[in-house]
């Protein structure tokens, strides 16, 4: 599974695109977040971060497949 990281999450993870192996073919966002927190505990220091799936904001209950485009979206600050 490939994850795109932006803003401060890119600094925490250390790269813009992360190859993140998962066992199942699909996984819920909340489980993906738990795995990310385990591997990158500094993500817990953020006030929040969202996950996007195929360019749309996802909820914790959203299922993601290995082929989906997934991104870590830290709190935005455009404008």
């Amino acid at each position: 599974m490939q994850l795109y990281a932006f803003g401060i999450t890119k600094d925490i993870i250390g790269e813009a695109i992360l190859s993140f192996p998962i066992q199942e073919d699909s996984i819920q966002v909340q489980e993906l977040k738990a795995l990310l927190f385990k591997k990158f505990p500094d993500l817990l220091r953020l006030p929040s971060f969202a996950i996007s799936v195929n360019l749309l904001y996802a909820s914790d209950e959203t299922w993601v497949n290995k082929e989906d485009e997934i991104a870590l979206i830290p709190p935005v600050s455009g404008g």
Partner: protein, 139 residues
């Protein structure tokens, strides 16, 4: 109805973007320009760096424009955001609307910039004299 949505690493040309709002049926054009200021959180800012998840940012801005069109009687909409380095006083975002009368243009512009700041995946990093910091504004 014309909509122009863009993310650009070039300098935002205010006049050119304004021209995209001109419409013979419009009696009102409303423009908001967000600019880089020199102080934030009591620190002197040297410059800003903007990063975007471009595909999603464009899609999100298009969705906001679509929602604005459905809510107010607008003629043209322009939403342009900068990425890369910007200096103090540089424009970083241009939001414009045109309509027959000013109420719709004002209200839609306010909606578009407010929603852009809360939902569009763009991030700002401030550079100070000795360090820099990503800004977390929303949520």
């Amino acid at each position: 109805m014309k909509t122009h949505i863009a993310i650009t690493s070039e300098a935002i040309n205010i006049y050119n973007e304004h021209l995209k709002l001109v419409n013979p049926r419009s009696g009102a054009i409303c423009v908001f320009i967000g600019t880089v200021r020199d102080f934030n959180r009591e620190k002197e800012v040297n410059e800003l760096y903007f990063e975007a998840y471009e595909k999603m940012a464009l899609l999100t801005m298009e969705a906001l424009a679509h929602e604005a069109k459905g809510t107010w009687p607008l003629h043209n909409i322009v939403m342009v955001h900068a990425i890369g380095f910007r200096k103090i006083t540089d424009p970083v975002v241009f939001i414009g609307t045109s309509s027959a009368h000013r109420d719709a243009a004002f209200q839609a512009s306010r909606f578009l910039i407010d929603q852009l700041k809360e939902t569009v995946p763009i991030w700002k990093k401030e550079t100070y004299q000795n360090d820099s910091a990503w800004i977390s504004t929303h949520p």
